[in-house]
């Protein structure tokens, strides 16, 4: 026994090294679990605060651009508003009251963001205190941005669409084909589209939007436009690259989408899953 302790003591540096590596390896593997849920990432109060102050300084250099963008978005929305009554005749059908206000939007500022890693995240300056919870969708005026990963009282961290593990349920607007958008980790301006079967006729410039099937995003949020289409002779699915609608390199204000009926949809779908088993 004494010899054993002596052995460990002689090689203590190596054993400490092993211990620390095992701890870090375990953290890498269990990264999404409860332990790291909100404390060990940039949604914790201290890190969020540092990033918020950093952003406050950077804002001085880009306020002009942000103003212009928000004004344009306003213009587009106002134009849409004037068109609306002509298309929808509300006397003919009836919307359940619960659905009328199904989605609610909270505005937040992106205080930190990355685009060049394999797993990119963004930090927002709003958290639980403003009603943001895990799993909500995030968009801006141009299109889809990502999904909230974890929250603290005043900050939230989200997976950006440029996260190689995030799968987004999408449809090709023209053909109504359901497919999956996923980032391959290389170009921050493009995302790949998977599971588009080869009988669909694709051409460049087709719009890709969210499907609305997973209760996170409303249907019809723009993801991007097809940039290139490729298929191998023996492949079942196309290899499609999509130009992203959002410029991830300059995110400023975003909307976090709360779905009032998410719980209802999820529990209903769960009962069906249980019945199938």
């Amino acid at each position: 026994m004494r010899r054993l302790f002596q052995f460990i003591y002689t090689y203590r540096a190596f054993f400490l090294f092993l211990l620390l590596e095992v701890i870090s390896g375990w953290l890498v593997i269990n990264h999404n679990d409860y332990l790291s849920a909100s404390f060990f990432n940039s949604s914790n109060a201290f890190a969020g605060n540092v990033y918020e102050n950093k952003q406050a300084v950077e804002d001085y250099f880009r306020l002009n651009k942000i103003n212009e963008r928000l004004a344009q978005e306003n213009e587009a929305l106002r134009n849409k508003l004037t068109l609306e009554p002509a298309i929808v005749d509300s006397s003919n059908f009836f919307t359940p009251t619960a659905l009328a206000g199904q989605y609610d939007y909270t505005i937040a500022t992106v205080v930190n963001n990355s685009v060049d890693r394999f797993r990119n995240y963004f930090t927002l300056d709003k958290g639980e205190a403003d009603g943001i919870t895990e799993g909500m969708g995030v968009i801006n005026g141009y299109g889809l941005i990502g999904k909230i990963k974890s929250t603290s009282k005043n900050y939230a961290v989200g997976y950006s669409a440029l996260h190689s593990n995030l799968l987004i349920s999408a449809v090709i607007e023209e053909t109504k084909t359901l497919c999956t958008a996923n980032w391959d980790g290389k170009n921050p301006r493009q995302i790949s589209l998977e599971y588009v079967p080869r009988h669909i006729k694709l051409k460049n410039g087709m719009r890709i939007v969210t499907s609305g099937f997973n209760a996170i995003f409303p249907p019809g949020i723009k993801i991007g436009e097809i940039a290139s289409v490729d298929i191998k002779d023996d492949a079942t699915f196309y290899e499609v690259k999509v130009d992203l609608a959002v410029d991830f390199q300059s995110l400023d204000y975003v909307y976090v989408i709360g779905n009032e009926l998410q719980q209802e949809q999820d529990s209903l779908e769960n009962t069906i899953k249980l019945a199938d088993d």
């Binding site: 203590r12 540096a13 190596f14 400490l16 090294f17 620390l20 590596e21 701890i23 870090s24 390896g25 375990w26 953290l27 890498v28 593997i29 990264h31 790291s36 060990f40 990432n41 940039s42 914790n44 890190a47 540092v50 990033y51 950093k54 990355s114 685009v115 060049d116 890693r117 394999f118 797993r119 995240y121 930090t123 961290v157 190689s164 980790g185 290389k186 170009n187 921050p188």
Partner: protein, 173 residues
């Protein structure tokens, strides 16, 4: 435990980590070359530090960087590895005169060519670890390799520049 040298190192640590999080984090060239100057702190620590302390410092530094980078575990593993390899590599490349009268493995003490021979392989190892953990495997092998090499060169360049700017007293060769 608390003496002038430790306080000085704590201050330098703060500068390196703050520099990493507020400035160097945004410095990315061609979507490939990243700047990880915080490893300059581990590389430039005095020679007298014990291996245990060195690894604990590396582990803690990695943890702080990870919290801000939302990549829990990645930088911890890589920086601990760097701290483990540092004494071995320093012994392996002992210059002719040995390390007498040398307080830290810095450019001003041992010259540019020695410093590059010391820092480049260690950094390359560290960055390869980071990028392969981040990529989650060895697919995209060439892409990750290019990323790590480009980042090593950029980080080494910035680190040498910093030493010429701020550690300016001493001899150069």
């Amino acid at each position: 435990m608390i003496n002038i040298e430790n306080i000085k190192q704590a201050f330098i640590w703060l500068l390196f980590v703050a520099g990493q999080l507020l400035l160097a984090q945004n410095l990315v060239l061609f979507n490939k070359a990243f700047c990880f100057i915080y490893l300059g702190f581990i590389l430039l620590l005095p020679l007298g530090i014990s291996r245990i302390n060195l690894m604990l410092v590396g582990f803690f530094t990695g943890l702080i960087i990870d919290i801000f980078y939302n990549s829990l575990g990645t930088h911890m593993a890589a920086t601990t590895l760097l701290a483990f390899l540092r004494p071995l590599w320093i012994n392996a490349i002992t210059p002719r005169g040995g390390y007498e009268n040398v307080s830290a493995p810095a450019l001003k003490n041992l010259g540019l060519s020695w410093f590059l021979a010391y820092s480049l392989p260690l950094m390359a190892f560290h960055l390869l670890t980071i990028f392969f953990i981040e990529a989650g495997g060895f697919h995209m092998f060439i892409f990750v390799l290019m990323k790590a090499l480009a980042s090593t060169l950029l980080t080494a360049f910035v680190l040498v520049l910093l030493q010429y700017l701020f550690y300016s007293k001493g001899r150069y060769s």
